[in-house]
């Protein structure tokens, strides 16, 4: 067991060492180190949210939903533009309603006609949905950069300045974001574990035919799953939008969430969360601490590790553990 897992162990050990090395070698003051760590975690929360959307849909319907990023953009645009006309809370509720309608339309017009088709056909269909949402979203809501004002102070606050020299700078908005994400994750896991609808969702995820045989309607379950994915996209969109403004590039976060689901396992919501955090922290750490070392060592022009770290890590994971951290290992009995 141990012997077979050695590449995974090695990779984990390397990540761990990389995590503590800057502190151990005193390459960074502890206060700054913690700031980088927190920054990474905050980015990770956003990756986690988008990745969760992927995992939810993949688990329940076996569809790799390429449109998750576009859904994030669409939801963010809806909130940003609606909030110009009405209070933010109302805009958020309305945007959620829109995402539910969208889920229903996708089930009706895309999934239902393609039921029992190859996975590739469904993937292509979601690719179509992506382009449609990108375009339609901009037609409907406009293509400028919009702001989402959450009413939380953006100025960073200094905390623990009597513990560490120089204190730690944190952003209140980031904290709120992390809190909301944690609440959402808890609520979803209670929903999945304790309610009969949650049980039905897990049943559908495991076996479509058996689920139907005990009276669970597939179509309604799909609408529910896509609605939940819409909700997750909405939360991610609001956070992202509040931080960086709502613009087309938001839909590209889906590309960042791809390595996250590879790392966490396609079918695991917990994996998506942990994977997001690992990648968020990993890339920030690599950028700040590994970057300068590499620049010096190989006489490079600049770092830019943040841009590729996630993909390289995902690639390594694909080599040593293709099912991801928490994914189901499929053993086909012949």
């Amino acid at each position: 067991m141990l012997a077979r897992n050695w590449p995974v162990m090695l990779l984990t050990a390397a990540l761990m060492i990389g995590l503590v090395l800057p502190l151990a070698t005193k390459a960074s003051p502890p206060g700054f180190y913690i700031e980088v760590l927190l920054g990474g975690l905050m980015a990770g929360v956003l990756y986690s949210l988008v990745a969760m959307g992927f995992a939810l849909i993949f688990k329940a319907s076996g569809v790799f939903n390429f449109a998750q990023g576009a859904m994030v953009l669409f939801a963010a645009l809806a909130v940003a533009r609606l909030a110009e006309q009405m209070p933010l809370a109302v805009a958020v509720v309305l945007a959620f309603a829109i995402m539910v309608v969208l889920a229903w339309l996708i089930e009706r017009l895309v999934l239902r006609p393609l039921v029992n088709q190859e996975g590739v056909a469904l993937l292509m269909a979601t690719l179509g949905v992506t382009y449609f949402l990108d375009g339609f979203g901009q037609t409907l809501w406009g293509s400028d950069i919009y702001k989402i004002e959450l009413g939380i102070a953006k100025e960073p606050v200094m905390i623990l300045d009597n513990v560490f020299q120089g204190g730690i700078l944190v952003n209140k908005e980031d904290f709120a974001a992390a809190l909301v994400a944690a609440l959402l994750v808890t609520a979803l896991s209670v929903f999945f574990q304790k309610t009969s609808t949650g049980r039905a969702l897990r049943a559908v995820a495991d076996d479509h035919q058996a689920a139907q045989s005990i009276g669970i309607p597939l179509n309604r379950i799909w609408v529910i799953v896509w609605s939940i994915a819409g909700l997750v996209a909405l939360v991610a969109g609001i956070m992202w939008g509040a931080k960086l403004g709502v613009q087309f590039s938001v839909s590209q976060v889906a590309l960042k969430a791809l390595p996250v689901v590879i790392l966490g396992g396609f079918t695991s919501v917990n994996g998506a969360i942990l994977g997001g955090l690992i990648i968020g922290v990993g890339e920030k750490m690599a950028e700040v601490f590994l970057g300068p070392v590499m620049v010096k060592m190989f006489d490079l022009a600049g770092g830019g590790i943040e841009n590729w770290f996630a993909y390289v890590l995902a690639l390594l994971f694909l080599l040593v553990r293709p099912e991801g951290l928490f994914g189901e290992k499929h053993i086909d009995r012949v």
Binding site: S196, R202, Q209, S213
Partner: protein, 275 residues
């Protein structure tokens, strides 16, 4: 024809003969084809309340297709199914389930990510009425409801003698036990009619005897009407009240075990004749 022995004292016919009632399920002129392949042609038969009705036939005779038609997985091109005064042809699987017809699967279709208990609890899903929020918070009526359903499930667990495996993920159980969980999940729906797709396929003799005993007990104690497909002729002859014999998608025999045993067309289909 191979004969499996049954646990003694289970010769049921005399014991149950008074219980079999009026037809509750009737298959009328059902034809089903996939593209050019005709799986069923003009099959008609009925199932009476409380009886054990078997569908037998050689490989590829259309037995599983028949079960899938009743279950709503396939929609026949011709013919109808009459059940409890309702006539249908293109009802979906989940609607059939909601109307009180449960089934088990030949190739296990359990929810692998769940424990034995959770798997069986899914069978109660249809009967859960309380709202989501109450369920999530485990308050008031939702808690009471969960406890009630749990009691029913525990009863079934005792009945099928799988108490020791409640918390085990189903994937880790041996095949024979997984078959029992499959049956337990179907029973948890408290169905009027139970469809069993080769309940004894791939089992050893001891497991087969256990399964026979469970099927008879279900029928006796819960009064569930049972429609089963089986390969093992011996077993089927021993436990069913009446049999339908299919061959190449056509009905070639229908009657009590003795009648079917004496039917020349059935003997030919099973043993093969030179034409």
């Amino acid at each position: 024809m191979q004969q499996s022995e049954l646990p003694e004292g289970r010769l049921h016919e005399a014991a149950r003969s008074g219980r079999v009632g009026e037809p509750i399920l009737a298959i009328e002129g059902v034809s089903l084809s996939f593209g050019g392949v005709r799986a069923l042609s003009g099959v008609s038969f009925d199932v009476r309340e409380h009886e054990i009705r078997a569908i037998i036939g050689p490989n590829g005779a259309g037995k599983s297709s028949m079960l899938n038609v009743i279950n709503g997985v396939y929609h026949p091109q011709e013919g109808t199914i009459r059940y409890l005064g309702r006539t249908y042809r293109d009802m979906d699987s989940h609607e059939v389930a909601q109307s009180g017809i449960a089934r088990t699967f030949q190739n296990l279709a359990l929810f692998k990510g769940m424990t034995v208990l959770e798997n069986i609890m899914t069978g109660r899903n249809l009967k859960m009425r309380s709202n989501l929020l109450a369920q999530a918070l485990r308050i008031g009526p939702a808690l009471r409801e969960e406890v009630e359903h749990r009691a029913v499930v525990e009863n079934i667990i005792d009945f099928l003698e799988i108490q020791a495996y409640r918390k085990t993920p189903v994937g880790r159980l041996p095949y024979g036990l997984q078959k029992r969980v499959d049956l337990a999940r179907a029973l948890a729906m408290e169905p009027k009619v139970l469809l069993l797709d080769e309940p004894m396929a791939g089992m050893n003799l001891e497991e087969k005897q256990d399964m026979c005993r469970f099927i008879l007990d279900v029928n006796d104690e819960f009064g569930t009407t049972i429609v089963l497909i089986e390969h093992d002729m011996g077993v089927v002859m021993d436990i069913s009240d009446r049999l339908v014999v299919l061959d190449y998608g056509k009905k070639i025999g229908d009657g009590t075990p003795d009648e079917v045993r004496a039917n020349q067309a059935v003997i030919d289909a099973y043993l093969g004749v030179s034409h």
